[in-house]
């Protein structure tokens, strides 16, 4: 056989570059590697230095069943991945606020699916402020970890946040903080419950 594949297993602690989490209500829920359940519960939102900054609480459940937490964890938006599905405007959100997306062309030519006003948001990539892995009871270096927040929109709150984050990301990317402002306020209101 010409293949030289050999099975290797990680044997010691290492730096974690990214964590994957699914949006569930107001929280991203995932795992630090296969073993440790992880929750980032968002509590507030603001625009800081032109970037969306979330504040929340990290909880890590370790194998003994205990949960360790870190409060006041900042999560700064690094980037987004536009989705292969459409986000829906929350029914409670006022129509008078200008959209961050330009209106679709009305020239009779076909449009590209799932683009601009018909777009959704697939993932938000957030840089978390430094976490102390040891204090959280996990054998990982979490000093500069990235949270990959998947917007699966599995409940109404998550659906609302998906649309609001999409508008916010578009406005901030276009350097239009005033356009983003009402969306960020609504995110903040939603997160504060």
């Amino acid at each position: 056989m010409f293949f030289t594949q050999k099975k290797t297993v990680a044997t010691k602690a290492r730096k974690l570059h990214s964590i994957h989490g699914l949006l569930n209500g107001r929280s991203f829920v995932g795992k630090l590697e296969p073993t440790h359940e992880f929750v980032y519960a968002m509590q507030s939102a603001a625009v800081v230095n032109g970037k969306l900054e979330l504040t929340g609480k990290v909880s890590v459940k370790i194998s003994s069943g205990k949960t360790a937490t870190a409060e006041n964890v900042k999560a700064t938006l690094r980037g987004v991945q536009s989705a292969m599905n459409t986000a829906q405007r929350p029914a409670s959100f006022k129509l008078t606020v200008p959209s961050a997306f330009a209106a679709d062309a009305q020239d009779g030519l076909p449009l590209t699916e799932l683009t601009n006003t018909r777009s959704g948001l697939g993932v938000i990539y957030l840089a978390l402020s430094a976490l102390d892995g040891k204090a959280l009871g996990v054998p990982f270096d979490l000093s500069s970890v990235q949270l990959n927040g998947r917007m699966t929109a599995i409940d109404q709150t998550a659906r609302d946040l998906q649309w609001l984050f999409n508008q916010t990301a578009a406005a901030l990317e276009a350097n239009q903080p005033s356009v983003a402002e009402p969306y960020v306020s609504e995110i903040d209101r939603t997160l504060r419950g």
Partner: protein, 572 residues
């Protein structure tokens, strides 16, 4: 970039290090080892042996009935459009492989980090480009011509077709050149009717040319490959080797030479260059499973990791002599990203075919192709768009029998499905997207990384009004053909696909005649670093409207001949 500090240096210097094991990497491995060179093939993903492919799996064999675990796709592989329950291991997990886009401007990036790459599940359509494509600027003035002509690449197309095994007809169309084909697969009754409909409207319609064996050669049999038996399950991996993939053909041939070392689970983070000369001397690798860092060295580096992964690698390979990424002195690296677009579809039914007895060939996965018919010459010149499109069509349903179209259960349901299953017909557009500088990729400017800490791409791409005008024309023409064929039109789709969805992403490290405007010369060689070659879809100057894989393989084969010649001359 963060990597482990404990670097294990491997002193061996290979004649060539090949990054990627798909259509291009596999071909490079075969060509160079057969020339006597030692090669190391680095594949970022695992090895899945063909005996573990799920070709014979039926949905009813699975507790998930072919849909996979609940929400699996949305939670793990949301961008892997063509991944199914039985083929999902061929694809990356999006959870580990981020990339970013602009909000509201999606790009669907389907990736296969696995030994064999996307050849394990590719569509197999194998159309040559012609000078209508290679010299497109000379026809309409847009962008740049390729630095090669059809005549220069024609002998390589011949060799590639004979090697991989392409079934098809010789149809005598100058703009869709003929090649070296095995016998074509028969058209279904519905496809014959659609062909007549296309011909009535003045358009050619030809049997699809697919990389599937219908008359295996002695060499192909020697590698264990057999003729297609029309099971229609190609996307789950072909265990009999009828469908070309790297594993059963090019890598297998390279292995026979004893000159190839294949290393799966080896993620190349960047190329290492000599700080004095600026030439490449090797690659830095992170083990996918252990995250252990290591380095490997070669006289020549062949970058064949798939279009955007290759460009990402070059952008991540900054050095003193290459401050903007390796091969980017022109500023063209990352730019001119294209994909074909589809989404302009017409579906219908030939009612007269309902109730026909099934035949084995109903399971074939090839169909009928309507080649480009716009902007071929002055007579077909369109006033409102450049370039053109073709239609991929099929009639009949093959495996699965289109049961999802009907409601019901039990014996009556089965009767209904059997009655109608030979009647469906569909046409979908495969269209040219103009190469434009403003469609590009860059390293994410805000520092987004993947699970191994390697900086990821941000993709900027959207269709122009040229594509939109073409789409409108395609929609009208498809309906015209369908009506002329006598089908009842049941539905039309009038939105163009998101870029990337067709999985023909091309460009971003283009070839050219001018080092100031391109990344590669006419031999896929970096202008800025002569011992590095980019041989996959990144090298394309334009997309044409035909499937690109056979051209990727021909370019790779040609580049390998050049490498051998240059090595003999002492230039590498």
């Amino acid at each position: 970039m963060q990597v482990k500090k404990s670097v294990r240096k491997v002193p061996k210097v290979y004649d060539a290090v090949i990054i990627g094991s798909g259509a291009s990497g596999g071909m490079a491995a075969k060509q160079l080892t057969e020339k006597g060179m030692t090669v190391l093939v680095l594949e970022a993903g695992p090895l899945i042996k063909p005996e573990n492919f799920a070709m014979n799996a039926n949905s009813y064999d699975s507790m998930y009935r072919g849909f996979g675990p609940v929400n699996w796709k949305q939670h793990e592989q949301w961008m892997q459009d063509t991944a199914g329950e039985f083929s999902r291991d061929f694809y990356i997990k999006d959870t580990e492989h981020p990339y970013t886009t602009e909000a509201g401007k999606p790009f669907q990036w389907v990736r296969a980090r696995v030994v064999g790459g996307k050849t394990l599940h590719w569509g197999r359509l194998s159309w040559r480009f012609s000078d209508l494509d290679f010299k497109a600027k000379s026809f309409d003035g847009w962008d740049e011509d390729w630095p090669i002509s059809y005549k220069e690449i024609e002998p390589y197309y011949d060799k590639v077709e004979e090697l991989v095994g392409v079934s098809g007809n010789r149809d005598g169309l100058w703009y869709q050149p003929d090649g070296k084909y095995q016998p074509p697969m028969n058209l279904t009754c519905g496809e014959q009717m659609l062909k007549k409909g296309a011909n009535k409207t003045g358009r050619a319609a030809i049997v699809s040319r697919v990389a599937m064996l219908t008359n295996a050669t002695a060499q192909q049999k020697k590698l264990g490959r057999a003729n297609c038996h029309f099971c229609g399950s190609c996307g789950n991996g072909c265990t009999v080797g009828a469908m070309f993939n790297s594993l059963n053909a090019t890598l297998a041939a390279a292995a026979l030479t004893g000159k190839m070392t294949l290393r799966p689970n080896s993620i190349v983070s960047h190329l290492i260059t000599n700080t004095n000369t600026g030439k490449a001397k090797g690659v830095a690798v992170i083990d996918r499973l252990t995250h252990q860092a290591s380095e490997f060295f070669g006289k020549v580096i062949i970058v064949a990791g798939s279009t955007l992964e290759s460009t990402r690698l070059l952008l991540n390979s900054k050095a003193r002599q290459h401050p903007n990424g390796l091969g980017n002195s022109s500023g063209a690296l990352g730019h001119y990203l294209v994909d074909h677009f589809g989404g302009i579809n017409v579906r219908g039914a030939f009612h007269m075919l309902a109730g026909r007895d099934p035949i084995n060939e109903d399971g074939k996965s090839s169909g009928l192709f309507v080649p480009r018919f716009r902007n071929l010459d002055n007579k077909t010149k369109m006033p409102n768009f450049l370039r053109g499109y073709g239609f991929e069509t099929s009639a009949g349903t093959g495996r699965g029998a289109g049961a999802g179209r009907f409601a019901g259960f039990g014996s009556e349901f089965k009767k209904t499905v059997r009655h109608w299953y030979t009647s469906p017909v569909s046409m979908t557009t495969r269209a040219h997207m103009l190469s434009r500088f403003e469609n590009f990729v860059e390293l994410d400017p805000n520092g987004t990384v993947d699970a191994w800490g390697v900086p990821v791409l941000k993709v900027h791409i959207q269709h122009s009004d040229n594509e939109r005008a073409m789409a409108k024309d395609a929609l009208a023409c498809a309906q015209e053909i369908m009506k002329e064929a006598g089908a009842e039109i049941l539905s039309v789709s009038d939105q163009m696909t998101v870029p990337g969805r067709i999985i023909h992403e091309l460009g971003t490290a283009r070839m050219g005649s001018d080092a100031k405007k391109s990344v590669l010369n006419a031999h896929n060689q970096l202008w800025d670093c002569p011992n590095v070659f980019v041989t996959d879809g990144a090298a394309f100057v334009g997309a044409a409207n035909q499937n690109p894989t056979i051209t990727i393989m021909a370019l790779t084969m040609r580049a390998c001949d050049y490498i051998q010649d240059e090595m003999k001359r002492g230039n590498l």
